[in-house]
């Protein structure tokens, strides 16, 4: 570990808002250095504004983090967006391609950017944010769910490929979470939907951030999918 940066270093995509921002806050409170990647500036030690679909830009951003802090110990991939209420026949080619590019492609780009550094260190943790919908399916947002499901396949396979190294790869599949991604009139905010959940409420971004921190600091998880979801999928 570099003497100039004894604190562990985290790169968080989607760091400017919602779950990503909550992860930054949680990690910073525990003494981590944080670097954010987002379209917008993030409240991190080092903010890079870029689109995660740009593989080369993501790679350069992570290079800059390593150049400054000497290492990267954790990647959290929270960059994404949500579109709901679209029947499958109405999902346009552009909507499908964009969703896959951001959520699956963006996650993959960030993985590719940190792995060479983590392999050199013989250590590191990756926590991908998927969705409870990828476990249980959903009737109103097929392109989003397909992309989030693909992230789980990516995580499980990379976890096994990296298992013999010191790099641990896992996922969090949040239940409906109270972030700006959920519109005010979202189905998931409706009282009748919330009443159907065992805990009767939305998940908070802080609860997801706690789960990310727990995974990042626990040694025995490999390809695991933790789902703090208020009971949406049991």
């Amino acid at each position: 570990m570099s003497l100039s940066a004894p604190e562990p270093v985290a790169v968080v995509t989607g760091a400017a808002s919602g779950i990503g921002a909550a992860c930054v806050g949680r990690l910073a409170r525990s003494g981590w250095r944080t670097a954010g990647i987002d379209l917008r500036p993030s409240a991190t030690d080092m903010s890079a504004e870029l689109d995660v679909t740009d593989r080369e830009a993501v790679r350069k951003a992570v290079e800059a983090v390593v150049a400054r802090f000497g290492r990267v110990d954790l990647l959290v991939t929270a960059a994404g967006y949500y579109e709901e209420g679209i029947p499958v026949t109405d999902i346009t080619r552009e909507q499908w391609d964009r969703m896959l590019a951001v959520i699956l492609g963006g996650t993959s780009n960030a993985f590719a950017a940190v792995l060479p550094h983590m392999l050199r260190q013989d250590s590191g943790a990756i926590v991908a944010i998927s969705s409870e919908l990828a476990l249980g399916g959903s009737a109103t947002d097929l392109h989003y769910v397909a992309a989030k499901g693909a992230v789980l396949g990516l995580v499980k396979s990379l976890a096994l490929e990296m298992a013999h190294t010191g790099i641990r790869v896992n996922a969090v599949a949040p239940g409906p979470t109270d972030t700006p991604l959920l519109a005010a009139d979202s189905l998931w905010r409706r009282p009748d939907y919330l009443a159907s959940l065992p805990l009767g409420r939305l998940v908070t971004p802080r609860e997801i951030a706690h789960t990310v921190h727990y995974l990042a600091t626990s040694a025995m998880y490999c390809g695991e999918v933790l789902s703090p979801n208020a009971g949406a999928v049991i």
Binding site: L160, R168, L199, E207, T211, H213, M220, Y221
Partner: protein, 254 residues
């Protein structure tokens, strides 16, 4: 409650050694007043209770009245239980066709039915308190099965279904039930396994490591850490979930 100074109260079963002991130590370090149970007190339980300033409540949880009795004693001595860690387990390996019925029932009685009664006994106070946490130690074998462990695997699978059912039934009361399904753990059991296999402890460890994708046995502290997480406020959105700190052995989600 003067004895606990407002601390939350936890009961850990099977706490004389291994995961249960590590869990009691961890929860005590996290600020809980901890009651520790095991089938008999051969001195270890009392020593542990003294070390953590807790309470020893020896009892065979498979006996009909021991669940309610244990919960009553903890209630009198420490206060109402906020966190129950269902860890006690009986295990007897053997080929399916050669396993006598009494061994089947012993494993089901302790692992599943004993905790069923214990949970029945703790829930009323948790309801009155507006919530609580139940952390069930299941097993990776309860998810994927294992040769020569049919009764043990079935009892642990039963605990996973119990976790899910209670998650749904008790969740609306603020009582969060979740499970942990570990795989190979570096405990005293490894020496037993080594003796059975006629090899050294180090050879046994290596054999097990070779079965784990990350090539690392879980420590008892790893599992205690998972319990501590589920027992904490940080895990407030977990209900009916099964955590697998198993190094990638099971390759599936329970």
């Amino acid at each position: 409650m003067s004895t606990t100074d407002g601390r939350e109260i936890a009961l850990v079963t099977g706490a004389a050694q291994g995961v249960g002991q590590a869990t009691a130590l961890r929860l005590a370090a996290d600020g809980f007043a901890v009651a520790v149970n095991d089938v008999v007190d051969d001195g270890r339980l009392t020593a542990l209770a003294e070390r953590i300033g807790g309470l020893a409540v020896p009892a065979d949880i498979s006996a009909a009245h021991s669940g309610p009795d244990t919960v009553r004693i903890v209630g009198q001595e420490l206060g109402d239980i906020d966190v129950l860690v269902a860890n006690a387990a009986a295990m007897a390996m053997g080929p399916f066709l050669e396993q006598p019925q009494e061994l089947w029932w012993r494993q089901v009685d302790v692992n599943l039915s004993g905790h069923f009664r214990l949970i029945q006994a703790v829930v009323p106070a948790m309801r009155r308190a507006g919530g609580g946490r139940i952390v069930i130690i299941a097993s990776g074998w309860g998810i994927i099965g294992h040769p020569n462990a049919s009764a043990y695997s079935a009892s642990k699978a039963g605990l996973i279904a119990l976790t899910k059912g209670l998650g749904r039934e008790l969740g609306p009361s603020g009582i969060l039930t979740n499970a942990i399904a570990p795989s190979y753990i570096d405990t005293e059991q490894l020496q037993v396994d080594a003796d059975d296999a006629g090899i050294s402890l180090d050879e046994m460890r290596q054999q097990y490591r070779d079965l784990i994708p990350i090539r690392r046995l879980a420590s008892v502290e790893d599992i205690a850490g998972a319990v501590a997480f589920l027992a904490s406020r940080d895990a407030g959105a977990f209900v009916g979930q099964v955590l697998q700190p198993a190094g990638g052995v099971t390759r599936t989600r329970a």
